[in-house]
């Protein structure tokens, strides 16, 4: 067996970091497994919880935006239209808050054991992804109920799921690192989650935004992600607003890249400040 040689120096951990991350790959799985196990052990309704929440939100949005405000749905049934957006939004929102609190919640592990700290927020995102898959089941159910058949575009969906994953990681890494450093970010997390639900096109389609504002609207990266989901799942006359989508794409990539850099830069001090 080859001997591992570790050199510890100030500002030096870069070299073996990604190799370490690979060595600890099973920890991603175990932490996610723990969180899921604990969640479903502690709550009586267990799995149902992951389903009830998006269903109820969908119901409220359909009534408020579809029935009361009578906003256009762009062809598809309003509940399906809302639910298509709920999927990436819920995924982002839970990832964001879970990842954001993941380091603080596991502070005893951070201060007592070494492992690449990236594992922690990432496995929180993985847990949210499991919820996402469960909710996806509901969407399939809704489509059956309404007899809605998607077009070939649905095969593009994995790409958009990837984008949603990237966006969730991007937000999660930033907020996780900031939250360790400045503890008042924990108050900001629920605010962003709540606020984001209304400024993102979840209860309505982004086509109701006037054209001259659309590019500006797309500064919210979730706009691009949600539009992508709708384009792939709903099809029909649902069109992607390309300049906005590309802007979202660029923003997600930038935030993710800077997020990783910032996280890597600060993670060495986590054990000292947590």
């Amino acid at each position: 067996m080859k001997k591992d040689i570790i050199i510890i120096e100030a500002g030096r951990s870069e070299r073996n970091y990604w190799m370490d991350l690979w060595k600890y790959r099973e920890l991603f799985y175990f932490l996610a497994w723990r969180d899921i196990l604990v969640r479903y052990k502690q709550t009586i309704i267990g799995v149902a919880w992951a389903l009830i929440r998006p269903l109820l939100t969908m119901l409220v949005f359909t009534i408020v935006f579809g029935k009361l405000a009578k906003l256009p749905s762009g062809g598809a049934p309003y509940p399906i239209m809302v639910f298509t957006a709920m999927l990436p939004w819920q995924f982002f929102a839970t990832s964001f808050s879970e990842a954001g609190n993941s380091l603080i919640a596991n502070s005893n592990m951070i201060s007592k054991v070494y492992f690449p700290r990236l594992v922690m927020p990432t496995s929180a995102v993985i847990v949210s992804f499991v919820d996402f898959l469960l909710s996806f089941g509901i969407l399939l159910g809704l489509m059956l109920w309404y007899g809605f058949v998607p077009e070939m575009r649905i095969f593009m969906l994995p790409l958009f799921i990837l984008l949603a994953f990237a966006a969730s990681m991007a937000g999660g890494l930033w907020i996780a690192a900031l939250n360790v450093r400045y503890r008042d970010f924990r108050y900001i997390i629920p605010f962003i989650v709540q606020f984001g639900l209304y400024i993102s096109p979840v209860g309505f389609t982004s086509s109701i935004v006037p054209d001259k504002w659309r590019l500006l609207y797309s500064i919210n990266p979730m706009v691009g992600v949600i539009d992508g989901f709708r384009w792939a799942i709903l099809g029909g006359d649902y069109q992607l607003y390309w300049p906005g989508f590309l802007l979202s794409l660029v923003l997600v990539t930038t935030i993710l890249a800077t997020g990783i850099i910032y996280f890597r830069k600060t993670e060495k001090t986590f054990a000292d400040v947590i």
Partner: protein, 440 residues
């Protein structure tokens, strides 16, 4: 043997902010602080930056140089805050050093806490997997060692019970069992043996000893000299972040026990006229009348006390408790116990008094002295705890041929046993023993 750990000029600095009282930083405070700083700058552009003066640097480790060979069992000792845990944290890569360089050759496992990452809701079985993964084991590896771990921890029956229902002993056993089966080449252990019952502690020490027989290197931090003596060959002594000594265990442990923390003197505290009685100074003196606090058993030791009486007092005394490391009073003595007239009346003035410590009966260990001045079971004018202490050691030969370790008991009293060989074969005593045979 090859070098497995090489530490060169290692230092670790923490910055302590004096203004902050919170444990953590809040962005709001940082911004408020910055703004205040800018405001100050505008008003007094030439004054030095206030912010920097509020921060104090604290070197948890300073210029540590150390080389550890393969198979060494190294004990790290030192007072609280000496940097022992920080050293282990840096070695296990939990926190990064400020300067210096460490080269580690081999797989490291650190056990700074027992049961890190254990989740109370999960069962024993689930926690074995989780904890194993956190400590760096793969799933296959854990599966392979699963039975061994369960065996060691003695929790077979409770494998599918959530660990929140475990007794604390079971919890610790399970946690240690997982860590003990890590099979690293280098094992870093911090004071984890302070938990669990005696039998289990013995088992853990045994396990760690076995580990080191397989050519593995162990770093062991403990306050328990006994455990260090049993497990380690080399000892590193840290003090205030600096490496003071490194070498053969007996020598270093003795040096540590004799070191400053157990103070042999309390320097003059100055007068306190508002108090009826006031203790001024205490000093422990050896035979040569020099202050010292590391004594052999039976070595002469005098406690010299100076005190003030500020108003005429009657029915007061000075009492001194000799307290062992676990806060048990071993011996208590007062200045009027023998000299009874002293109890009746004391005129104002300064007094000096001294007594001989009963080093002949004190067993090996560390002791502190507690002084109280006042009315017995009544008003206490002055009280001093934990300021002065001493340690007693004894050579194995002196404590008798049968004792390999510290003789059990709080005190030592050499008691003469009279033994004769019987002329005839022993016959059972009659049912009622003859009265008066043993001078009751």
């Amino acid at each position: 043997m090859s070098t497995v750990i090489k530490i060169e000029n290692l230092s670790k600095k923490y910055v302590i902010g004096h203004q902050r009282e919170e444990k953590y930083t809040a962005l709001r405070d940082v911004m408020a602080h910055k703004l205040r700083g800018i405001g100050q700058r505008l008003r007094h552009p030439l004054s030095p930056n206030k912010e920097e003066t509020n921060l104090e640097e604290f070197w948890a480790l300073k210029d540590i140089n150390l080389e550890i060979k393969q198979g060494d069992r190294v004990g790290i000792i030192g007072r609280n805050g000496a940097g022992k845990s920080t050293l282990l944290k840096v070695l296990s890569r939990i926190t990064e050093p400020t300067t210096g360089r460490i080269t580690i050759n081999g797989r490291v496992a650190s056990l700074l806490e027992v049961g890190t990452g254990f989740h109370p809701e999960l069962t024993g079985r689930e926690n074995i997997f989780l904890n194993g993964a956190i400590l760096g084991m793969g799933r296959v590896e854990i599966k392979r060692k699963f039975d061994e771990i369960v065996d060691f921890a003695e929790v077979e029956k409770f494998l599918d019970t959530p660990v929140k229902r475990y007794s604390s002993g079971m919890y610790v056993r399970l946690a240690f069992a997982v860590a003990a089966h890590l099979e690293p080449e280098i094992l870093l252990v911090d004071e984890v043996l302070a938990v669990g019952d005696a039998a289990f502690q013995k088992k853990c020490l045994g396990k760690m000893k076995n580990v080191s027989k397989e050519g593995k290197t162990i770093f062991f931090v403990s306050h328990k000299m006994d455990a260090i003596r049993r497990l380690c060959d080399h000892v590193v002594l840290l003090e205030k972040g600096k490496l003071i000594a490194h070498g053969e265990k007996i020598k270093i442990i003795d040096q540590y026990l004799a070191s400053e923390d157990l103070r042999s003197t309390l320097n003059d505290r100055g007068p306190a006229p508002h108090k009826g009685m006031h203790l001024r100074s205490i000093v422990l003196l050896g035979k040569d009348l020099k202050s010292k606090n590391h004594f052999k058993r039976n070595e002469s030791c005098h406690v010299n006390i100076v005190y003030d009486i500020n108003t005429p007092l009657e029915n007061v005394h000075i009492v001194c408790h000799i307290v062992d490391i676990e806060d048990r009073i071993i011996v208590s003595t007062g200045d009027c116990d023998v000299n009874r007239e002293l109890y009746l009346e004391r005129a104002p003035g300064s007094y000096m008094t001294n007594f001989k410590l009963p080093t002949n009966i004190l067993n090996e260990g560390e002791y502190t002295l507690i002084f109280a001045l006042g009315v017995p079971y009544g008003y206490v004018y002055d009280r001093l705890t934990d300021t002065v202490g001493f340690s007693i050691s004894e050579s194995r030969e002196k404590s008798g041929p049968a004792y390999v370790q510290r003789r059990p008991g709080f005190v030592i009293q050499d008691i003469l046993w009279t033994t004769t060989q019987l002329d005839t074969a022993y016959q059972a005593l009659p049912s009622s023993p003859e009265k008066g045979k043993f001078n009751e």
